[in-house]
Amino acid sequence: MFKESIAIALRALLANKLRSILTMLGIIIGVGAVISMVSIGMGVKEKVQNSIASLGSNMLIVTPGAASSQGVRSASGSSITLSLEDAEYIKKTVQGIDYVAPSVSKQYQIIAGNQNWTTTVYGITPEYMAIKSLTVGSGSFVSQQDINSRNRVAVLGATVAENLFGEMNPTGENVRINNTPYLVVGVLDSKGQSSMGQDQDDIVLVPLTTAQERLVGITYLNSISIQVTKMEGMDQAQEQITSLLRQRHKISGTKEDDFTVRNLTSIMAMMTETTGTITLLLGSIGAISLLVGGIGIMNIMMVSVTERTREIGIRKALGATYRDIMLQFLIESVVIGVLGGVFGIFLGIVAAFAISTFGGLNTVISAVSILVPFGFSIAVGLFFGIYPARKAALLDPIEALRYE
């Protein structure tokens, strides 16, 4: 019976091609509008997400906790339990993370020729570049080879380079850190100030092993930065790292952690909320047109039922039950919804593409932003078809047969 109902519905739609297409147009525009509007919203979200990601919103920072000796607690970060092995272990076992960058840091006076400058020297690994979104302006970055052989090489931040060398390119020159010569292998591009007002270019980077063993003289780390692949994975990664480190540091039960895992969730939450609102706003504009399209379906189905009163009477006289007639008209309106949805998807994708090409706006189309409006178009066809179909199914066969 279901198969027959589909055939009957398709035939009825084909019999009134123009009317069917016009009715469908409401749904096509509705679905197209939702898809293209949401694609703009998600484009904005992606753009904002990227720019905030460069601030490190998808970063977890592990720092040592406060050392405590006989109840006296020192400053946070004074514990010496965080090791390079911890960092390597995190990278190996925690899922959903891109980079792990262990680092040590300490302030030193840097001397080049007759110039001097005091700044923070970071001992880092090559992954630090990716995690901090650094780019090298001239020369190269710290390499794995430098780490392995504890080379005395340094990469200067733009501020440091300018203060020590002025207009000159420092690459290939020597600087003295803590009275030891270091070869400058590269200069970073300027990153400007951070959101906290810190000058992000006022740094000197040296290989982690060099810093630990030749400069600072320590075996522990000051921090481990971890970049998480997806924002959604932040909490999970944080939990994994915490339990992992507790295990490695043999902290059991309710004893306090000897480290801290921090994240920048506040920025993230703000971003999610803002872009979420934008997407919702744009999506609801589309949803309203989808709703209007649905009312169009109902309108046409009502006309169709009235127009085909006699047909309904004939079918009922020949033995069609309530369910048969209901199904016939319901399928008709659902088919309008489905076909309208399919064409609407095409329209939406084309529109989103056109907006990004000619409108200069970033648009993003995801499976969800296609499937949800498509699902809605079917639901709209179903919902707005119920009343007319019910009206048809409830017709009295005698009245319907007499209808002129």
Partner: protein
């Protein structure tokens, strides 16, 4: 077997007033009879036809169709009963205009839940028996009145009902086609089908073996023609 009506009434409310279209009709029609129901318009013959055809329920009384009480069935049960037991032939043919003669004939089988292939096979056989084998693919508006009514008869026969209800089947036909159609009914009756014919034309009623006259919602005469008395 056959049809038994007992004290059937059918009342309609028109405003405050209640009008009885049927005021207590009792009637028995055996299988294989050819009955004409006559009466002027407003006499209640259409109401009687609707109730006999299971299109409507009586207000009171009992209607046994093939020994089954149908006066109290639900709408869907009535629909199933119509589908299985009753074939309709209407004055204005009532064919679906957008589908071919072939599919029109097969339509009752759709609602009987029969597969498409068998539907079309059976429809082809029936169409051939009413002499329209060559017109299968034609749309109703490409057929003459007589041909359309033959399509309608084929449709009425397809689910092998025991009763054929014909409501003024010749009302829209010229006299030659009318004669043709009435001959088909006669033949069907010979084959054992019960034919119930509603008409206001005495000429047409003459082909029936039994004529029931209705007036003001009551049967005023019920005569079986001499030659058919057993």
């Amino acid at each position: 077997m056959g049809i038994t009506l007992k004290e059937i009434t059918k009342c309609y409310k028109i405003g405050e007033e209640t009008v009885a279209a049927l005021a207590g009709v009792s009637l028995e029609i055996k299988n294989g009879e050819f009955v004409a129901i006559m009466g002027p318009s407003g006499s209640g013959k259409s109401t009687m036809m609707n109730i006999l055809g299971c299109l409507d329920r009586p207000t009171s009384g009992s209607y046994l169709l093939e020994e089954q009480e149908v006066a109290t069935l639900t709408d869907d049960e009535l629909a199933k009963t119509r589908n299985k037991r009753i074939g309709f032939v209407f004055q204005n043919f009532n064919l679906l205009s957008r589908v071919s003669a072939w599919e029109n004939v097969a339509l009752p089988l759709v609602y009987a839940g029969i597969a498409e292939k068998e539907r079309l096979n059976r429809a082809a056989v029936i169409l051939e028996s009413v002499g329209l084998a060559s017109r299968k693919q034609h749309m109703p508006n490409e057929l003459s009145g007589g041909q359309r009514q033959r399509v309608a008869i084929a449709r009425a026969l397809i689910n092998e009902p025991s009763i054929i209800m014909a409501d003024e089947p010749t009302g829209n036909l010229d006299s030659r086609s009318s004669v043709d159609i009435m001959r088909i009914f006669g033949d069907l009756n010979e084959q054992g089908k019960t034919i119930i014919l509603v008409t206001h034309e005495p000429d047409i009623a003459q082909s029936a073996k039994r004529v029931i006259t209705v007036r003001d919602g009551l049967i005023i005469s019920d005569e079986v023609k001499e030659q058919y008395h057993v």
